[in-house]
Amino acid sequence: MDAVRLDEVSKAFGPMHAVNGLSLTIRQGEILGFLGTNGAGKTTTIKMMLGFFRPDAGSLSVLGGDPCEPATRKKIGYMPETAYYYPYLNVRELLSLYGGLCGMSKPEIREASERLIERVGLADAGSRLLRHYSKGMLQRAGIAQALLHDPDLLILDEPFTGLDPLARIQFRDLILELRQRGKTVFFSSHELSEAELICDRVAILKQGSLVWCGAVSDVAGDGQQNLERIFLKMLGGADEKSARQSLASDSEVKS
């Protein structure tokens, strides 16, 4: 079963078409990077996948269900792009809040919180209020809340923003570890190098439409930042047609 299936999904806000006939599948247990420039429709797609609103056209299923239903969202972990959390709580209270919202019992929350606080490296700052956290620390708290209820699908919106190099490595390791445990990871990013390092597949979005989707292993490996090259060609315009043709043979191409 596919973890996520989007079929000709469209969403418009007034005259602006944020997502335009997007078809994409995310296989279970894979890491898929969702790339695109600002305003390409990445966050709108993520919001539809989380059930914040329904698409205007097309169909969308997440883990075989409707994300607007709480039962489906129970299997989804989400980390937002801007990791601002309640400034008057500490990370334990934050996780207790989100654990409660997931319907977890107090012992379950306590056990999962302590494990995750340790895992994301916030053990020393566990009792400090979040308003005293740096951006990187808030990102760590964000990933901890996303993983709290052990979801099958993890949706991360710009997860590497604000992380220092060490935290990036730890975060990358964590994502790879999640894949090893059979979890599906979907993340939007501007960080092409990170996507190239950890993704199984990458999808590139332009003006709400999918312009390229393929395996990273097909394009990487010659040390010349091939993903960046593809990204620029797909979004650049001038050479777009020929780039698509040359890549069509080894990758899934949609426009």
Binding site: R73, S96, L97, G100
Partner: protein, 260 residues
């Protein structure tokens, strides 16, 4: 414990924690102590009977502070969530929007009632120490009906926070509550004395406005009049629950249709 109860509990706890950590409430507590303590100790103009005047002042302040806290907490439940985008991870959790609304409302109510309890205890001890009358039945009724007042005010503030901008919400709710508190009883006679457009407006306000004056037993407490019937008390509380339910239904509609 059911999942929904856990969710509501978590949300309510958030509202209470935020209120106390934000320290706004501490300021109100200190302010009330500064005002109430001298009232407890003073015998104005050397006249023992003038203590009633002091009690009236103190109760008016308790009402004012409770309105500020009730409205302040409820009006701030959602706008900061939208502004700082903390609403996204919350909506991404397996929780229905209706549950979020109810949890936040109960949290705001719990926080406001906890502050109200402190005010009433302070007032009760102040009057008891001066007059030797400790927590009479009418005082208990005044406290219970004041909770009913907060039931209405927090629901009104919450609904307004989803329909209006924060400043417009505070202004509208504050004006309507204070207006009804002082003129609510007189609205029918005021309406009768007006020409048609004015009469219609006042009649509409009379029917749809929050009749917070129903909850006001200040005069009875100050003048040590007998307690009202508990049945009347119950009817007024049913009115509070009904009014709050309507406000929450409106808020629920607005929250369901809100685009994030």
């Amino acid at each position: 414990m059911s999942v929904r109860v856990r969710q509501i509990q978590a949300l309510a706890r958030l509202a209470v924690l935020e209120l106390y950590r934000r320290k706004d409430l501490i300021v109100v507590f200190v302010l009330s102590a500064v005002v109430l303590l001298p009232l407890a100790l003073l015998t104005p103009f050397g006249v023992a009977g003038a203590g009633r005047y002091m009690n009236e002042m103190a109760l008016l302040l308790v009402w004012l502070f409770s309105l500020v806290i009730g409205l302040g907490v409820s009006a701030r439940l959602f706008p900061p969530e939208f502004e700082s985008r903390t609403i996204y991870p919350m909506l991404a959790k397996p929780v229905a929007r209706g549950t979020i609304l109810v949890g936040k409302y109960l949290g705001a109510l719990a926080a406001s009632v906890s502050a109200l309890t402190v005010f009433y205890l302070a007032y009760g001890f102040m009057v008891g120490a001066r007059q030797g009358v400790w927590f009479p039945a009418v005082f208990v009724q005044a406290f219970i009906l004041h909770i009913g007042f907060l039931v209405v005010v927090t629901a009104l503030g919450l609904a307004g926070s989803l329909l209006l901008t924060p400043s417009a919400n505070l202004t509208m709710c504050g004006l309507s509550v204070i207006g009804m508190l002082f003129f609510g009883q007189r609205l029918p006679s005021l309406a009768a004395a007006q020409p048609l457009p004015g009469r219609m407006v006042l009649t509409l306000i009379h029917w749809f406005g929050p009749h917070v004056e129903f909850f006001d037993l200040r005069q009875r407490v100050v003048h040590e009049w007998p307690a009202i019937g508990w049945g009347v008390c119950g009817v007024v509380l049913v009115y509070a629950a009904g009014y709050a339910a309507v406000c929450l239904a409106v808020a629920s509609l607005a929250f369901r249709n809100k685009r994030f």
